[in-house]
């Protein structure tokens, strides 16, 4: 679908874009016409591969390394992208996430802190940074990648579930704060998606999924693509589940 006024004069940033869901989102947004910053922490080769694939398909992409838990990283990344593309970030996808599973009685402080820092605090800091330009541009799209685990309990993931539930309520609250500036903030809550993160999960659990299969990263990316599109301009503060009916 082509629209001369969309994407606006901005670029997109996908945190944790070197593989899995983040890589699929980066490719999707590039295909929709956005210049895309593909952030990575340790997966440099993966991020550069994603950027190369986007360029080979005629898009614009730039792999940008930074640990999202570093409080300085939003400023550094946004400046790098503005230099690279000559436009501000007007689409942000907070996708970077980690898990460190353990039952609550055994969960360590380090496991708790690492998951909260990456999945929740970093998303807040990147959102705060992005809103500066988005509010002044009177347009912008932020999509936070949450999880079905932020909506329903999953034993062994109290840290991950708390971070994702927090991310969902942060999404809703920030969304209503800035709605009249034309900026939308939404969350996508994937269920069981085939990625490296779920490679070790017991596949017997798939029986709990009404669709009886795992989802794909591309299926999540399609939903993010919609929320970032102009067509989703009246959708804000929403949580879109992409889970084969698991959370229904």
């Amino acid at each position: 679908m082509s629209d001369l006024s969309w994407p606006p004069a901005g670029c997109a940033l996908v945190t944790g874009g070197s593989r899995g869901i983040g890589a699929a989102i980066a490719k999707r947004l590039a295909a929709d016409g956005w210049p895309v910053g593909v952030n990575y922490r340790s997966g440099r080769a993966g991020a550069e591969q994603v950027a190369a694939e986007i360029k080979a398909a005629g898009g614009r992409a730039f792999a940008v390394g930074a640990d999202v838990t570093d409080p300085a990283s939003p400023g550094i990344i946004f400046e790098a992208l503005e230099q690279q593309f000559g436009v501000p970030v007007l689409a942000l996808v907070n996708n970077a996430g980690i898990s460190a599973d353990n039952l609550s009685p055994s969960l360590t402080d380090a496991e708790w802190d690492a998951v909260i820092d990456t999945n929740l605090t970093a998303a807040f800091r990147f959102t705060r940074q992005a809103l500066k330009a988005m509010m002044r541009a009177r347009t912008g799209r932020i999509v936070n990648i949450a999880s079905v685990v932020g909506l329903r309990a999953n034993p062994g993931q109290s840290n991950y579930g708390a971070a994702k539930a927090g991310l969902i309520q942060f999404t809703r609250t920030a969304a209503v704060e800035v709605a009249r500036r034309g900026v939308t903030i939404n969350a996508v809550a994937p269920g069981w998606i085939e990625t490296d993160m779920t490679a070790d999960v017991n596949t017997d659990l798939l029986e709990a999924v009404p669709a009886r299969r795992a989802g794909t990263a591309a299926e999540v990316a399609a939903c993010v693509g919609f929320l970032v599109s102009q067509q989703a301009s009246y959708v804000t503060g929403a949580v879109l589940s992409v889970d084969g009916g698991l959370g229904a």
Partner: protein, 80 residues
């Protein structure tokens, strides 16, 4: 580069007008309440001021400000 109070006044009026009120109602004595300028608008104004004049207005600064004249005065003093 120094900036005059008149330049600050002009920029503040332009910014506030972009939030809704008619430019001719934005006088020095007008309060933000009268102009229907709310906290989100003031956050954006602070961002503009920081970007353009390098003056950082914190939350506690903004709480002290009631009128357009107050904010122009504060920015002019700090930018000088």
């Amino acid at each position: 580069m120094s900036v005059t109070k008149e330049q600050v006044q002009e920029r503040v009026v332009e910014a506030l007008a972009s939030f809704g009120p008619d430019a001719d109602t934005i006088t020095s004595s007008a309060t933000f309440e009268e102009l229907d300028i709310d906290s989100l608008d003031l956050v954006e104004l602070a961002q503009i001021v920081e970007d353009e004049y390098g003056v950082v207005l914190k939350g506690e600064d903004m709480k002290e400000l009631n009128t357009v004249g107050d904010v122009v005065e504060l920015i002019s003093t700090r930018a000088a």
